[in-house]
Symmetry: C2
Subunit: 157 residues, 2 copies
Amino acid sequence: MTTNDVEAVEAANAALYSALEAGDYDAMSALWVDGPLAESAQCVHPGWMRVAGRGAILRSWALIIANTSYIQFFLTDVSVTVSGDVGVVTCAENVLTGLGRDAAGAAALGGGRIETTNLFCRTQSGWQIWHHHASPVLAPDDRDNDEGVSVDDEELG
Amino acid sequence: MTTNDVEAVEAANAALYSALEAGDYDAMSALWVDGPLAESAQCVHPGWMRVAGRGAILRSWALIIANTSYIQFFLTDVSVTVSGDVGVVTCAENVLTGLGRDAAGAAALGGGRIETTNLFCRTQSGWQIWHHHASPVLAPDDRDNDEGVSVDDEELG
C-alpha cells in the first residue's frame, strides 16, 4: 500500500463525516459507490438492521439528515489499511448531537462513542465508500491504559 | 474473485461460529491472524469497545467462552466478496444463548439479531480472520416482508 493510497482513503473517510456534519445529502451521495458495485453497498447504522444497496442506503441517510438538527464527530483511534482496491478504515466516532430543547428552552446535547468500520473501494471516481458499519458502545469503558480494552484475567478464572 | 476463494472464505467464516458454538478456544486461536498482521487485528463484540491486537482479542474470546454455557448461531443474509487478498463477509448472527436457570430450575434461553462484518486475509495458513465487527440490533424490525429472520424476544424468553 502506498502513502498516497492511505492518505486518499483517510481523506474519503473524513469527507464522509464532513458531509454528515454539514447535512449535505448531495455530498453523501457522491461519496457512496455507484456503478457496478452500487447494489453490493451495505450500511449498518448504530443499532439498526443492515441496509443494503445504494438506493436504500441513501434514503436512510436522507432520513438521518432530515432528523438531525446538529451533529459533530470527533474521530479517534483512526486506523487505515489499503490492500489492493480495498481500503479499510476503523475509528471511533465520538459524537455530539443536538437533542432539541429542554423544558426551560435550553439547547440539549447528547453524546456517545460509536465503533466504526468503513470499507472503501477504488473506483473510476476515486475512493468511494462501499460498506459502513457503526455500532454503539454499550459496555462501560473499563480501560486502565490507552492500549485498547483491558480484559481482566482474574475474571477468567 | 474465484469461486474457490469465495468458498474458502465462506468456510473460514463458518468455522469461526463453529469454534464459538463448541467453546473451542484452540480452534478460535488458529482462525485468527498471526504473523505480521497479528497486531493489526481488530474485534468489536456487540456493544463493546474495540479490542485491538491478537493477544487482547484472544483473551476477550476466552472470557466469552468461559462465560457462555450454550450458544448457537443461525447465520442469515450471508454475503461474501473477495478482492485480492481480502475477503469480506457480512451476515446476520441470529443467536440463541443459555441464560442459566430460572427460579423454577428450567433452562432459560435468550436471543437476538447481531449484524456482523468479518474481514479475512489470505495468509500462508489460508484465509484467517483479521477483523470482526458485531453489533446488536436495537431498533425494531419494521420490515414488512419476509426477507431475513426476525427474532422475537418474547418467543425465546
